[in-house]
Each structure stands twice: as structure tokens, then as C-alpha cells.
Symmetry: C2
Subunit: 116 residues, 2 copies
């Protein structure tokens, strides 16, 4: 009998550790472990001091970013927001954002990019 | 001039602290701060020792849960998985799951339930 098992545990340490240079036109590089099934992109990310993810638009998805370490500067639709550990940034579908590490500490986060 | 601002920061401490008794038929209660715009449910959750979220099916959504503290037991499609701090549980659309705290420590997590 075929067993239906479609749920899963994601151990980020077992995913490829990607070092994405100048991601979306940003500065330095973006450290990421990414699971992507075409429906949801599930990310563990890190930005070192001075690194950034460049401005980009979410046309067919949204993005939810939970900051787990550090303080992230987001510029979204011309508004600046500082998001600290334990807080969340929500980029709605159709919106644009950039993430910048202006601090002297790493920023770590979990993110989901659901296709919607 | 009307300014388009659709992105946002979510400070969970400013959302209602909900104590959801026997959530989805589970044991004890589920502590949650939830933002919900009908497109994405964005959750900061906690389960005390002995608490659980009952078995339920995601018919029109998926769910991504990042464990930030403790060890969570998930039963999904008859498979048991233990998910630790820093790991993730992914419940795909159409699938069922339950979350149980069998430990003596709180479980804390961030979750997204995207409508898909």
C-alpha cells in the first residue's frame, strides 16, 4: 500500500549552504539555506555587517521574514523600518523591499516566500 | 499625494495575546499572537509542557513552522517527526498534522499559514 507522506521536517544544516554574491544587486553576499518546491520558498538566512539584499518586487508572492538575531533595516515602498530580534517584516504581494545590515553584528532570520 | 505603503513590521507584543483552549481539539492551551489579513496568517506561538494542537488538515493553505525554542513532536500523515530549535516543519497543502509538547520545557515558534 502506498503511504501518503507529504509533510516534512526541514533541517537547514542539510541543505546546500549558498553564498549569494550581490543578491538582488545588494552589497557583499547573502548566506542562505533554501528549500524550494515551487509553492513555498523556505529560507534560513544570514547577512554579515555591511551586507544587503537589493531592492526587488514581489509580483507573484509575498514574503514573511522573522528576525532571530540582530537588527535589520528594511526599506519598503520608501518607508524605513527597523526590525529587531523576535519581530517580523511582512512584504505583501505587489510590494518592494530591500534589507540592509547597517550594524556591526550579523543578522539572522527565517523567511517564507509563498507563491500567491 | 497618496502614499502607497503596503509592507509592514509586525511587533507580536502589540498583537492580542490569545490563550486558545484545546486548540483544534488539543490538550491544555495554545498561546498565540496572530496577524491575519486573509492571505497570510503570521503567528508567534508557545506551547507549555503537556499542551498540544490537535490533528487538523490544511485544505486551502500550507503551514511552515520554525521552532525557536524546545523540541516539538509532530505527527503528520501517520509519521512522527521531532523538530528542534533552528529546524522547520513544513505541512503541505492537503496534508494533516498535530503538534505535541511531550517535554518539560516550553516550545516556542514562528509560523506562516499562506492561503494557496
Amino acid at each position: 500500500m502506498l503511504r501518503k507522506v507529504i509533510n516534512m521536517k526541514i533541517d537547514f544544516n542539510k541543505l546546500d549552504a549558498q553564498k549569494l554574491e550581490s543578491f538582488q544587486g545588494g552589497l557583499k553576499h547573502f548566506d542562505a539555506n533554501i528549500y524550494n518546491d515551487g509553492i513555498n520558498k523556505i529560507i534560513r538566512g544570514k547577512l554579515i555587517p555591511g551586507a544587503s539584499i537589493g531592492l526587488h518586487t514581489h509580483d507573484s508572492s509575498s514574503e514573511i521574514i522573522f528576525i532571530t538575531k540582530g537588527c535589520a533595516k528594511f526599506v519598503t515602498d520608501d518607508v524605513v523600518e527597523y526590525v529587531n530580534e523576535g519581530e517580523c517584516h511582512y512584504c505583501k504581494k505587489g510590494s518592494s523591499h530591500t534589507l540592509i545590515n547597517e550594524t556591526k553584528e550579523d543578522i539572522e532570520f527565517f523567511a517564507v516566500v509563498p507563491q500567491q
